[in-house]
């Protein structure tokens, strides 16, 4: 298995070496070796079962490698947790609390005092901090945005987003993409797993293709066939 072509420049921010992740008889990741630079948006694509979510969870420290190593900012992912923000397909929020109450709680986990940061972050994702409606009653678009707010609450250097646009309306999706662009321009590194790659076409710095538990290619652009195929 030869190494796929790496995207040049920069100091490696995230280094993955021979990563294998096995769940009993199923290997989700079968030997991933890659380096990722800082300050870029990397979009991870592939079929279901290609290992995209597992890769993201390993970077977040939620999945432990069966073999191989992952180093984030030169550390174990768990030790680098202050610099990592994670967003998954479930909302990672308490349904019975309002958005602000949720963020207030998570702020305490990150040693962030006061409400001002929480309110600022909620506004930045286009939601109203005063909204007392419990998160369980939000629309999907609002829930994804609030979930993103939780992920960026502690201003992490690295963002790991798993299917952030899933079931989200076009307007919310475009707003989120704009937000991601702004964060990348401010120097953050962003990894997005998505099936809707065209949303990120103008913003992504590279596309990482996965298949059968391995990275098979890394490109600067989406092939023109995909752009046409994804259009309605």
């Amino acid at each position: 298995m030869t190494n796929p072509p790496t995207v040049p420049t920069g100091v490696p921010f995230i280094v993955i070496e021979g990563l294998i992740k096995q769940f009993d008889r199923f290997a989700a990741l079968r030997g991933v070796t890659a380096e990722f630079d800082a300050g870029k948006v990397h979009v991870i694509l592939g079929d279901n079962g290609a290992g995209k979510t597992t890769l993201l969870r390993t970077l977040a420290g939620l999945a432990h490698p069966t073999r191989g190593t992952v180093s984030v900012l030169g550390k174990n992912p768990h030790d680098a947790c202050r610099d990592i923000g994670y967003m998954a397909h479930p909302s990672l929020l308490y349904d019975e609390m309002s958005g602000l109450e949720n963020l207030r709680y998570f702020a305490r986990l990150y040693d962030i005092a006061g409400d001002s940061r929480c309110e600022q972050v909620i506004r930045s994702v286009g939601l109203d901090p005063e909204l007392s409606r419990p998160v369980g009653k939000y629309s999907q678009g609002m829930r994804q945005r609030m979930s993103l707010a939780r992920a960026i609450l502690h201003d992490p250097k690295i963002l790991l987003l798993d299917e952030p646009f899933s079931n989200v309306d076009v307007h919310s999706a475009r707003e989120m993409v704009g937000l991601l662009k702004g964060m990348r321009d401010a120097g953050k590194s962003i990894f997005v797993v998505t099936h809707q790659a065209t949303l990120l076409e103008g913003v992504a710095d590279e596309f990482v293709w996965m298949q059968a538990g391995q990275i098979v290619d890394r490109t600067h652009h989406l092939a023109p066939e995909i752009t046409r195929a994804e259009q309605p």
Binding site: G61, P90, S91, L92
Partner: protein, 225 residues
């Protein structure tokens, strides 16, 4: 250290607030506890001579059943929407979460016991023949014993099939010395026939040993996928 307690208190107050908002679950639990007592009253005749000697056992078995039902809910909210992942990914220490959950369960189970105990006194016409004040340390230490291990094993059960079954399955064997002590101590105090002193010390030892073990090993359990 200050941030540890701040996180513990934040988690505890959040849990209490959420429990209070969905009062349905709370009310259902209280009613369930009442039902357990009633079943026991119909199964073990309060007027029989022997009842006085077994009521210590009955009370703690009733508490145990109510506690298991409560403990099974410990992590339910964290599992919905995978909130536990958000905690794992944060720098917050695992033990802060554990202590908060144990304290929450302790308060909740104590509440249930406070409801059930007077019912037992009433239905069984109990009079305490020994030193009644000793019932307090027995109740506190005994409840802590059940709740600290129960919260820990509930976390272990999260990663298993038949979650609600795994908790009692893991909890009961390990709790046996605590149950023996609680029951024997309570019976001694109620009948006034023996000293409960040894059992109170044993319960204290049990609590110290297992609280230490839980605090030492909870991080391993939390980080399990």
């Amino acid at each position: 250290m200050r941030s540890f307690w701040s996180i513990t208190m934040a988690t505890l107050t959040k849990d209490i607030r959420l429990e209070w908002r969905s009062k349905d679950a709370l009310n259902a639990m209280l009613f369930f506890s009442l039902l357990v007592v009633v079943i026991f009253v119909f199964s073990f005749d309060p007027l029989a001579e022997e009842s006085r000697h077994i009521v210590g056992g009955l009370i703690w078995v009733a508490f145990l059943f109510a506690a298991v039902v409560a403990l099974n809910q410990t992590w339910a909210r964290e599992l919905r929407n995978q909130v536990l992942d958000a905690y794992r990914v944060s720098p917050a220490p695992a033990n802060a979460l554990f202590v908060a959950k144990v304290l929450g369960n302790f308060i909740f189970v104590s509440l249930l016991e406070a409801l059930m105990a007077p019912l037992f006194v009433i239905f069984y016409n109990l009079r305490v023949l020994g030193p009644a004040w000793q019932l307090m340390p027995v109740a506190l230490l005994g409840t802590w014993a059940l709740v600290v291990n129960g919260t820990f094993f509930a976390a272990m059960s999260v990663r298993t099939r038949s979650r609600e079954l795994m908790l009692p399955l893991l909890l009961f064997p390990v709790s046996i010395p605590a149950v023996i002590s609680m029951v024997a101590a309570t019976t001694s105090i109620l009948t006034g026939e023996d000293s409960a002193h040894f059992y109170i010390v044993l319960l204290l030892t049990y609590d110290v040993v297992f609280t230490t073990a839980c605090l030492g090993l909870f991080d391993t359990v939390l980080q399990a996928e």
